[in-house]
Amino acid sequence: MKLALRRCLGCGGVYPPVQRDGYSYYHVCPPLRDEKTGVETLRPGHRDENLVHDSAGKLVGIVAEGAGSEPVK
């Protein structure tokens, strides 16, 4: 089975939002790391697809939409 893929428009990474076992995958952009200091900063358009729930447990969205994503054809 070929996995459907999406491309993150923040970092350019390509990932399968649904795995072969049917479970979801939550993409997070890698940060930019200063090679000399090791300090990390979020890249422009940083995307974090981890889910956010309110205090009642209702799904309200993802952590950071960032620059978005698009399907890979």
Binding site: C8, G13, V14, Y15, P16, Q19, R20, Y23, Y25, N50
Partner: protein, 140 residues
Amino acid sequence: MPEATRPSGRIRVIVGTDPAAGAEILETVPAGVQWRLIAIHAALVTDATVINRVVALVLDDGANIFLFTGSSYIQVASQFIHYTFGAFSRQGDTLVGAILCGYPEGIVIGPGFRFSTVMVNLQAGDDWGPPIYMVEEWPA
């Protein structure tokens, strides 16, 4: 929960994000689960820039690094090498372009924890393939 009393988790093989060229691998444990890392595999193809690269694997809790392990192999220009990280007692390279790198056995990481590569002399054209990793997963 102590390992001796923890029920067996679900064994999963996860295909992670294939980074753009010049970017490192970074995977984050999602909310609601914890993972025991069994093995992590990724392949790296280097561009034509003549410089020595060395690959490391870093685990952190989202901010604080608690494990930093790496390869003793020097990857040069225009090479394709498989890297596999796991609880190996040996580290070394093989004759088929495969490098084994060890970390301690039984590492369990929770939501927001991350593993990532850190390369010495990463070049803009160096390109990691997607990490494929095997974990044992439990609800967090």
